[in-house]
Symmetry: C2
Subunit: 257 residues, 2 copies
């Protein structure tokens, strides 16, 4: 029986600035059924207030605590470890890290910096790692569906570049880190086995959630989904489903009363 | 008995614009002993005529055929496979690929593009790979010793980024590709077991040469060498030696008469 739902955003609820057909009504049906929700997004090109405003414009109202982002997890990590950040993130995300003046060294924080990725910025981050800084990856996604509908390079490619050159492995803060899924479920007071994840990324959303112990993970054929994605990563999805509307039928038929 | 010598250039013969002490005289001693030489360089920020001119300015004269570069191997590959190149290389290297208008599709060619690495250029190369282009890596070196004396990101980091995002593995044309070492030795009509490689990169020069079957590979403590590099890669160097001058003593004491 399903007692809580984790939803990816980009490619599941919206695509660029457009809601995915049926997705807004699907969220309303999940809420009406009394299922606790968390939105778990690896999008690191937008600050959280912008994501919440974007959802509101689409007709999905959510409270601040319902949105979990890797940036929020990173800020908690930096506070907990008393580190100052060396940021390699999108300029729009930088404000979320303001005021962190840790006195116990530096941590390189890599997100999807977009056009801010260049040789100089990557080399500065590399040199910080060689000098002993901690290494935080907001996400390790390989690709995302870009505004033109094609796949583009996501943060994971640049994390891989720094990992290869420095020989250092990152602490991953977003999906598919088990800690990220577990933090969302702890807030809902729900056991992993009683929760379902819905996403368009067969690796980060689906294999990640199942590896973290979630009872089910549904791969939707929207967003960045490409044919045969369900065969490319282990574990395979619990089910491959057209979109969030149909996934909601699947969930509600298995939900705790 | 050693019958041929392969020498790396940057970090072994020169460092930036400066010869490494004793290196020019060492090359002269190897030549005087009648040992056939090939210079095998993964440097892909300079065209070959510039490398040859740089060596001449330091007092090392070499014939064009004595210098093997990944760019030359890539041009041969593109001609042999009738592919046109999609270049992600240093602007100074682009002229070496002029006139290649293969009619049998496209191959992405990645070298150390330096400042030409940015989000847009990497994403264009990624999209060519997703569309089915071949994938050629001029080199997979992790780092090089930069003009300021510190390590900087080399081509391998960006090859790793594209490999991670695309799920494609490159054909490697420079060191540590066994084909690259074998091509050099074929020109010298020398069996791999009778040759020695000298380099400052424990992975690409040394482990690469030994994996390709060379009889010996010497790691010098110049250039990008950092303490304990000899323990980081497998196979380990035949010997770790201060510089090319001392490596030359080692070689001459084992050379075929």
């Amino acid at each position: 029986m399903i007692r809580a739902v984790l939803l990816d955003l980009a490619g599941v609820v919206y695509d660029g600035d457009t809601p995915i057909p049926g997705a807004v009504a699907a969220v309303e049906r999940l809420r009406a059924a009394g299922l606790p929700l968390r939105f778990v997004s690896n999008t690191t090109r937008s600050p959280r207030h912008r994501i919440i405003a974007q959802l509101a414009a689409l007709g999905v109202e959510l409270a601040d605590e319902e949105l979990l982002t890797p940036a929020r997890a990173a800020v908690e990590w930096l506070r907990g470890h008393d580190r100052r950040p060396h940021l390699l993130v999108h300029p729009k995300l930088e404000a979320e890290f303001s005021g962190l003046e840790g006195s116990n060294g530096c941590a390189v924080v890599v997100g999807d910096a977009g056009e801010a990725f260049n040789y100089a910025s990557l080399n500065r981050a590399f040199r910080e790692l060689v000098a002993g800084a901690d290494f935080l990856a907001l996400a390790t996604n390989r690709t995302f569906k870009d505004a033109d509908g094609e796949l583009s390079l996501d943060a994971g490619a640049f994390v891989a570049a720094l990992e290869f050159a420095s020989g250092r492995s990152p602490v991953v803060l977003g999906k598919p880190s088990p800690d990220f899924f577990h933090a969302a479920l702890a807030e809902l007071n729900c056991r992993a086995a009683d929760a379902v994840m819905v996403g368009d990324d067969a690796e980060s959303d689906v294999a990640g959630a199942l590896s973290a112990g979630l009872g089910a993970a549904l791969l939707v054929r929207t967003g960045k989904y490409r044919p045969n994605d369900e065969t490319r990563f282990d574990p395979a999805p619990t089910a491959v489903i057209d979109d969030l509307a149909v996934a909601t039928d699947w969930i509600l038929s298995r939900a705790a009363a």
